[in-house]
Symmetry: C2
DNA sequence: CTGAAAGCGCTAACAC
DNA sequence: GTGTTAGCGCTTTCAG
């Protein structure tokens, strides 16, 4: 069933049917109704390919993230997909993995689908330096479609970023620990992404400001798996820390397991703050204090910017959202 | 940059360029190379819309699930997307939510995108009765494209199902609890989906077989949120149970919180088994015994079937995979 | 308000 | 091997 048959049945030309499909005001209500009835009776759906060819858009947005199985990204994808759909767009999802080259391939590949915009989720696509050469592929992409980053900052024409102020959040988290008298705060992370680096800087700034030395042996990078973290810490000859700031809840959960094995009381002997305020945080026992990184808020901002941008309106190229420390039992001073 | 310009620059006809794009063997290696070079130099990408129009396929698969933020579905989506991409297909994602009508809309809407196949994730799309009238919308969809269900069973032409034998898994989980001497096993669930009902049947069968009465007051349905579960149980005048079989890890985690509040020892006073073997299970303290529902395996099966089906080969319309109880601390008898 | 007709960029049957 | 040409189903001028 195509537009010709509908035109035939409705006794009008295909141009009119097309106008009805696109709800053009140039058609009389009467014929509109008639055509619509015919369309429904035959439950006709315009061919999106032909439509895409004509309009050069299939009303789809590309969503790229390293891994949807990760709770943070899953939440972002869920939120973006819902809102975009309400706005009339469908989403093509591409999980690139974390490897550098794969991310580049991801962006290049998804662009071939002629998406109307690209949303890139997760700071691992960005670089510490917003002008870095290695994120040129994002700027390339932005030459074709507007690009939106969730929690990353890349400077460039047609690139729009919504990010959580991880630096400040980490700064206050560390400060909180310092205020409670902790002096040996372990920084635990699983990546060197833009965001992770921001957190580290915030952490170090807090220490420095408090006149506490930043110790190399209190900075650890490891895989974000609960048992890996636990085992890694257990294997260390001695971990000389009285608090931990972890850049992911999973890492913090691992620390909790470690503390339990060691017989260390939490938070008395070891205070812990995680990041993302995920379901893991409330699953932990004792429940984990965690920084809420406001994914939903970031997504809303991106959606709003995207709507504006797609209507040719100007948009801020960067919006910051304050992260927010959720106090639970692991910092129950 | 389109096929005409490339043809022009390469000094061949558009037919030849098209053949090169599709790697037809009817082109001499020499011209192939020449054309390819021109394409690269101008980094030309064939217009997928035009291609779709001609071939009536854009090489995309529709992925529908209630909510990607749920770990089970996120894992499924991640797995499916990766493998499908390797096979040359991209994915359109649609998160329908759990409402009945919304699921129907989801399927109808995504079909309009002229996907090559539809994968439906989660048993909430199915019904206890594989021939039920209410899942007619799936059969309707199957008239247009092959439909694959992850963990649901609907009978119908062009519908293919991969499912975890939740009945058996629940049966053995409950049996395990009975074997350890428990007689008052709480069944805790968050839904009446096909899969949840299977679990309940398995649970009841185990009790019946052991001559243990199935008590109405030991079957509870509630929201899958850790604190909701905890609070619900705490508010009950008295919960007369010595074990819990939960259909989701999140529910089981809530029970754990409840036990802790009540001062009940786990597993001594209360043994617990969760479901899905998610990250939550190892995050719990004590770590949660949980049934592994084999999402990855189910996805692999669907992928394999899909490949066969898309090549016109025959495929089993239903494949079962054994769920598998992972014993951890909450059943450490 | 409506219709005729020229694309949109590609595929594939057919001719050479 | 390669080129010509007729679609694929829609949008959009341009006429009326």
């Amino acid at each position: 069933m195509n537009i010709y048959e509908i035109a035939e049945l409705a006794g009008v030309s295909i141009a009119t049917v097309s106008r009805v499909i696109n709800d053009s005001p140039l058609v009389s209500e009467k014929t509109k109704l008639r055509v619509r009835r015919v369309m429904e009776e035959n439950d006709y759906t315009p061919n999106v390919f032909a439509r895409g060819l004509g309009l050069n858009s299939m009303k789809t947005i590309g969503l790229v993230c390293p891994d949807v199985a990760d709770n943070y990204m899953a939440r972002a994808v869920a939120c973006l997909e819902r809102d975009l759909r309400e706005y009339g767009y469908n989403c093509i999802l591409y999980c690139s993995g974390y490897a550098w080259e794969d991310r580049r391939i991801a962006v290049r590949t998804i662009l071939q689908k002629r998406i109307d915009a690209l949303v890139v989720i997760g700071s691992s696509y960005a670089d510490d330096d917003p002008d870095a050469e290695r994120v040129e592929y994002i700027r390339e992409a932005a030459k074709q479609v507007p690009v939106f980053l969730i929690n990353g900052y890349i400077r460039g024409e047609n690139i729009f970023c919504a990010l959580c102020s991880d630096y400040e959040a980490a700064y206050s988290a560390a400060s909180e620990l310092l205020r409670s008298g902790r002096r040996k705060i372990l920084f635990l992370s699983d990546s060197h992404s833009y965001s992770a680096n921001q957190k580290r800087s915030g952490y170090e700034a807090a220490l420095r400001e408090a006149g506490v030395p930043v110790r190399e042996d209190l900075v650890i990078y490891t895989r974000n798996r609960i048992d890996s973290v636990r085992d890694l810490l257990l294997e260390m000859p001695q971990l000389d820390a009285d608090a931990v700031f972890a850049t992911e809840d999973g890492l913090a959960a691992g620390v909790l397991k470690y503390a339990k094995r060691r017989g260390a009381a939490v938070p008395k002997d070891l205070a812990i703050i995680g990041y993302n305020n995920s379901e893991l945080a409330v699953c932990c026992d004792p429940e984990l204090s965690s920084v809420d990184s406001r994914v939903d808020r970031l997504c809303k901002i991106v959606i709003d910017s995207l709507k504006l941008r797609l209507n040719g309106k100007p948009v801020n190229d960067r919006v910051y959202v304050k992260g927010c420390l959720i106090r639970r039992m692991t910092t129950d001073f």
